[in-house]
């Protein structure tokens, strides 16, 4: 029944062409000799050279990486705690409010989140800079982490934890030596998700950033508003390359892991 009809082939081909041709054009024109992005004038890597000499971009990239690493680490810790509380925490005062606060940021328009955080920072007299961007990013990313981690927590067998507790573990030991290793893949993908969200964010960072702390998306946005430039194409190509490498490696690794688990299961049955 499930065969590849001409309709399926056409829709998949057109669909993937739609998704990938724009990115492909962007990458191709980053190797264009000409400053005019629309006229092909021969192969060149000179825009990568000018990009690497552009101090403003390099500074912005450093700020972005710092913010990304710190905020996604905080988000992963808080998000894992929040997921654990939601799935295993039982009843406590204000549980509904808590779950509302975890899900609401996922659907909140970025302009509102950004505006509200900025007004908070000003109301309490916090100087805007890297610190405020980290606070803002950690807050919205922790909600994504908690969704990823709680879906893993829901699906795994609670009796494993109970067995550890029965055998004399403290709840903390049980978490450390039983729960954490099992949910580790979800925690790692939560961190990666938080990190990419942070690298990608323009709107919230624009509200939360001060004049001294420009992130890469803010820099790209202000350059792009004036039009298409080959330097931005080169920068985009580098960023796309890093992401593609990461995602493809991760999927190959998980594919191999799944194959190994299947083999182990079969061996165990023998």
């Amino acid at each position: 029944m499930r065969r590849l009809s001409w309709f399926n082939v056409t829709s998949l081909t057109l669909g993937f062409a739609f998704l990938y041709i724009p990115i492909l054009i962007l990458v191709i024109y980053s190797f264009n000799e000409s400053r005019l992005v629309t006229v092909w004038a021969g192969f060149s890597t000179k825009w990568y050279g000018t990009l690497l000499q552009n101090q403003a971009f390099l500074d912005a990239a450093t700020v972005t990486l710092k913010v990304g690493v710190i905020s996604s680490t905080i988000a992963t810790i808080l998000g894992t705690m929040a997921a654990y509380v939601m799935v295993r925490g039982g009843r406590f005062f204000g549980r509904t409010l808590f779950s509302g606060m975890i899900y609401a940021p996922l659907v909140m328009p970025e302009v509102i989140t950004g505006l509200s955080l900025l007004l908070l920072f000003i109301a309490i007299g916090l100087d805007r800079g890297i610190f405020t961007i980290v606070l803002a990013h950690a807050t919205f990313s922790m909600c994504y982490v908690s969704v990823v981690v709680s879906s893993r927590l829901v699906s795994f067998d609670k009796s494993l934890e109970e067995a550890a507790l029965d055998l004399g573990c403290t709840p903390f030991d049980a978490f450390k030596s039983v729960t954490l290793p099992i949910i580790a893949p979800a925690v790692i993908s939560g961190w990666l998700l938080a990190f990419t969200l942070s690298l990608d964010d323009l709107v919230i960072a624009s509200f939360a950033a001060g004049p001294s702390s420009t992130t890469l998306p803010i820099k790209i946005y202000s350059a792009v508003r004036l039009g298409v430039t080959p330097e931005i194409n080169a920068l985009s190509t580098i960023m796309i390359g890093i992401v593609a490498f990461g995602v493809i490696t991760a999927s190959l690794v998980s594919k191999r892991n799944i194959a190994r688990i299947k083999r182990d299961e079969q061996n165990a049955l023998k």
Binding site: R2, S11, F16, L19, T38, L119
Partner: protein
């Protein structure tokens, strides 16, 4: 209750309380304040030093003036209406583009599916800003699309596409289509193929079987996908700002300009509060759909 449990609950709780909930009350408060030439640029500000008298003065300074202003100046409700229209039609377009892709994936050989899935998710990990930027080069007057159409002889003069609403629609469909594909694919993949065989055996044409069996059974995925596109599209800022023109009115852009260009914080806050109220309805409907789906699975 031991202190560890208390700590575990209170840390994320207080974090979200302080950095998510409290900021909203500040937005609401400022939306009731007046614009002032001061730092911060609104009045009244609460001065706790003056005790009860200070609070009373603060309270009497709050009014609905900004909301009345929003209803009087037709820019704002035009912007709300136009965001709603753009979000609605781009959701429909995204569904038309996304459904065939999801259908093709669900009917592909099982060993291909993880790879296809990865290639749908891959653009989602790539910077949103970069994906929008890619279309600026394609849609501009000397851009790739115009060059191609001129070369092929389909048009004689380049089309004006960039900085129009058409570009905004293309941008939204392009960036949000993975959100439509994934939930639809999830429902189609679980669909029992023998149901369609039964329909065909009982005399349905393939198309009629698709219409009467596949479409109704994938309804929950379609609804979830539509909300996942509609809700963020409504408050979208980057796409109308880069691909849209000066005549593209979207509420996210209005809020941004009100705040950064006009520096009118009270009006920007009032715009935010109304946008939030508009979003409550689709969000509640979305949650109900998810709930129903979860119950159906159990």
């Amino acid at each position: 209750m031991n202190y560890r449990r208390l700590l575990l609950i209170s840390v994320p709780y207080l974090w979200l309380f302080a950095l998510f909930l409290v900021p909203f009350f500040i937005v609401m408060k400022i939306s009731l304040s007046d614009l002032a030439i001061a730092i911060p640029p609104y009045t009244p500000t609460l001065s706790l030093g003056e005790g009860w008298q200070g609070f009373k003065e603060f309270w009497s300074g709050l009014d609905m003036e900004n909301y009345i202003f929003l209803t009087e100046d037709d820019l704002y409700w035009k912007a709300y209406l136009s965001s709603f229209k753009i979000a609605f039609f781009s959701t429909v377009l995204t569904l038309l583009v996304g459904y065939p892709i999801a259908y093709g994936m669900a009917n592909a050989p099982p060993e291909w599916r993880p790879t296809l899935m990865m290639f749908i998710i891959l653009p989602f990990w790539t910077s949103f800003l970069i994906r929008v930027y890619a279309w600026m080069g394609i849609l501009s007057k000397q851009g790739f699309l115009n060059q191609f159409l001129l070369w092929s002889g389909l048009i004689d003069d380049p089309l004006v596409l960039l900085n129009t609403n058409i570009a905004v629609y293309i941008g939204i469909v392009y960036t949000y289509v993975p959100f439509m594909i994934l939930p639809i694919y999830a429902t189609l993949e679980k669909l029992d193929g023998s149901l369609i065989e039964a329909a065909v055996d009982l005399g349905c044409s393939r198309f009629k079987a698709f219409w009467l069996v596949t479409i109704p059974l994938s309804k929950s995925g379609v609804i979830a996908g539509c909300f996942l596109v509609f809700i963020p599209a409504l408050g979208e800022f980057v796409i109308p700002s880069l691909l849209g023109g000066s005549r593209t009115l979207m509420i996210g852009k209005v809020l941004w300009e009100e705040f950064f260009s006009n520096r009118d914080w009270p009006v920007a806050s009032a715009v935010a509060v109304i946008l939030l109220l508009l979003l409550v309805i689709p969000i509640v409907l979305f949650q109900r759909n998810e709930q129903k789906q979860r119950e159906a699975e159990q």
